[in-house]
Symmetry: C2
């Protein structure tokens, strides 16, 4: 998606360790109009009429998933990352490793809101090692629901998370795959 790639080149910053900062438009200060354009682009990749729920993980994924869900008049469901007192009853759980926070976190989704009849589009703003995506796919499988695909805005291709999911046969589309940084090289 050229608009997204242009924004990454113009406004993104590369930090030591291959960290790509896009926090001026994607995951701290959020350009909601850009997110809506991303939502429209996902419509070319996935059968959005068939999707029944858009699933993401807190926190920054919630912004994109909300805009995508609203664009297609679907509910949005987000996995929580820690057990709070306000989640009761049965939970789907998947343990992932957060490279951002350098620790294990557990993704939690209430069984009340995800069912075997659901056709799920998993959405996230950013994918590096793909741990959050892996956990979300695991939760979809636990629910016996159908994974319609994974829509990602920015994928760090050189960290391999997306390719592992592709090799596993997942219908994954990232709108900007970064294969190298400094300078930034996008996958064709």
């Amino acid at each position: 998606m050229q608009e997204l790639k242009d924004r990454i080149v113009k406004e993104g910053k590369v930090l030591p360790g291959g960290i790509i900062k896009v926090d001026g438009f994607l995951n701290h200060r959020v350009d909601t109009e850009l997110l809506d354009h991303i939502a429209a682009e996902f419509g070319k990749c996935f059968d959005m009429d068939a999707v029944t729920v858009v699933l993401t993980a807190e926190a920054s994924g919630i912004a994109l998933a909300s805009i995508v869900a609203q664009h297609y008049h679907k509910p949005m469901l987000f996995a929580k990352k820690a057990k709070s007192d306000n989640i009761e009853g049965g939970l789907y759980q998947s343990e992932i490793f957060s490279y951002t926070y350098k620790k294990k976190v557990t993704l939690l989704v209430s069984k009340e809101w995800l069912h075997a009849e659901d056709k799920v589009l998993v959405v996230d703003d950013f994918m590096a090692n793909g741990e959050a995506m892996r956990g979300l796919c695991d939760i979809v499988e636990q629910a016996g629901a159908e994974l319609m695909g994974i829509g990602c805005a920015v994928e760090k291709g050189f960290q391999g998370g997306g390719d592992r999911l592709r090799e596993a046969g997942v219908n994954i589309h990232s709108l900007a795959v970064i294969d190298a940084v400094d300078p930034i090289v996008f996958r064709e």
Copy 2:
């Protein structure tokens, strides 16, 4: 807002300790169309043309703030709740007590994305003790920006957070103020 009150009565659940669960449409599984109606309602309470940024705190506030921001073609900015390696440089910080997680958390906003010229609408889906709101207002003040108001979907009036902000002269509007539970009583 009658639509929101109707949903709370029909789908909300009251748990021991005065906890009101609205996780089927507001803060776990999210009805994005309802959020867009809430966004439209905020237009009656605040001068949205003058607002330059919609500010919230992660995690569940991001959904409503994203939809509000998109509705009025504004950027959305969310305070993070823990220091990650991906935030560099200057930060506005405010320490709050999270009753959900029973611990202190620090709200963080990069100084890069909030400035003295900004006119800020603070938005959250839910207010109980108002700690997140207090922290967000503190951050707006640190930035020297102007607080245009606080828009909240559901306020637990009996926990006093909203009234403390009203007494402090903040332009706060909650679209459903719950003054008692079991049975639920809304403030007129």
